[in-house]
């Protein structure tokens, strides 16, 4: 129990600090690397929550595929490295106010509603086989819909990005 709390503290500190650096750094490649730290920390938190398959997918899809896409996007748009382009707009104080207000309202309502409810730690543990049983029985129609969505997104991206 104590060990889990210690690891939660370390991982959440990594996640929050990297996220804050990601939205404030002036170098876009550094921002992409901070995003990797955020995603890896979240993957470790999924392991802490016994969601092993979600953690694996987080590493494979997010850190593997999505980050490569982002780096391609950065390179292809010739994002100025360093400080050549002002990365944060003039409206940043308003944006910070909106974000702080939103976060404050969400945290207030969470504390108000859940208070000091304890996380159920003696519940069933779902392994990858259980997740796949659920995906291919109860959620088979949404699963096929997601397959079609991915195909449509693939074709759409090719049509949008090709030269002619």
């Amino acid at each position: 129990m104590v060990a889990q709390n210690i690891f939660f503290g370390i991982l959440s500190a990594i996640v929050i600090l990297s996220a804050l650096r990601m939205v404030t750094t002036r170098n876009i490649v550094h921002a992409a690397l901070y995003l990797v730290a955020v995603l890896a920390g979240l993957g470790a938190l999924y392991v802490l929550l016994t969601a092993e398959f979600v953690a694996t997918t987080q590493v494979l899809v997010y850190i593997g595929a999505v980050m490569v896409l982002f780096l391609f996007g950065i390179m292809l748009t010739k994002a100025p490295l360093g400080n050549a382009m002002e990365m944060t707009g003039k409206q940043w104080p308003i944006a910070a106010g909106v974000a702080a207000l939103l976060g404050g309202v969400i945290v207030y309502s969470l504390v108000n509603h859940f208070g000091s409810d304890r996380l159920v730690t003696d519940g069933p543990i779902y392994r990858t086989a259980d997740v796949s049983d659920e995906v291919f029985s109860t959620y088979i129609v949404p699963f096929e819909a997601v397959s079609v969505l991915l195909l449509a997104a693939l074709i759409g991206a090719i049509v949008l990005a090709r030269k002619d």
Binding site: Q4, N5, F8, S12, V15, A19, L20, M22, V23, A31, A32, L39, L42, L45, Y46, L49, A51, V54, T57, Q58, V61, Y62, V66, L69, F70, F72, L76, T77, A79, M85, M87, G89, W92, I94, V98, A99, L102, G103, I106, V107, L110, V111, F114, G115, S116, D117, R118, L119, V120, Y126, V131, V135, F143, L149, L150, A152, A153, A157, L160, A161
Partner: protein, 99 residues
């Protein structure tokens, strides 16, 4: 472990993502901040799945990951197209529909 410590982490991550979307000028950075917000949703889904002892939370998180991958593909194609047509990815340059 409290339920709230995970939920508040998700809320904080979502707020940081909102700040990134509103304050950043680079189109690719805006897309990255959207990823932060989607991940905040994912951690809520997984933790509520654990709390209620159901597997649906994990399944929904997987669906969100798949949809996020599709979103990034199309979003980056749009950013690329904007760069090709306007030679800029500064979102403040794109104000054609401003009244």
């Amino acid at each position: 472990m409290l339920l709230n410590q995970f939920l508040i982490l998700g809320a904080a991550l979502f707020a940081v993502g909102v700040y990134g979307v509103l304050a950043r000028r680079n189109g690719v950075m805006v897309l990255m901040s959207i990823e932060l917000m989607l991940n905040a949703v994912n951690i809520n889904l997984v933790v509520f799945g654990v709390q209620h002892g159901v597997v649906s939370g994990q399944v929904f998180a997987l669906f969100v990951i798949a949809v996020a991958a599709a979103e990034v593909g199309v979003g980056l194609a749009i950013v690329l197209l904007l760069y090709r047509n306007r030679t800029s990815i500064d979102v403040e340059d794109f104000d054609l529909m401003r009244g």
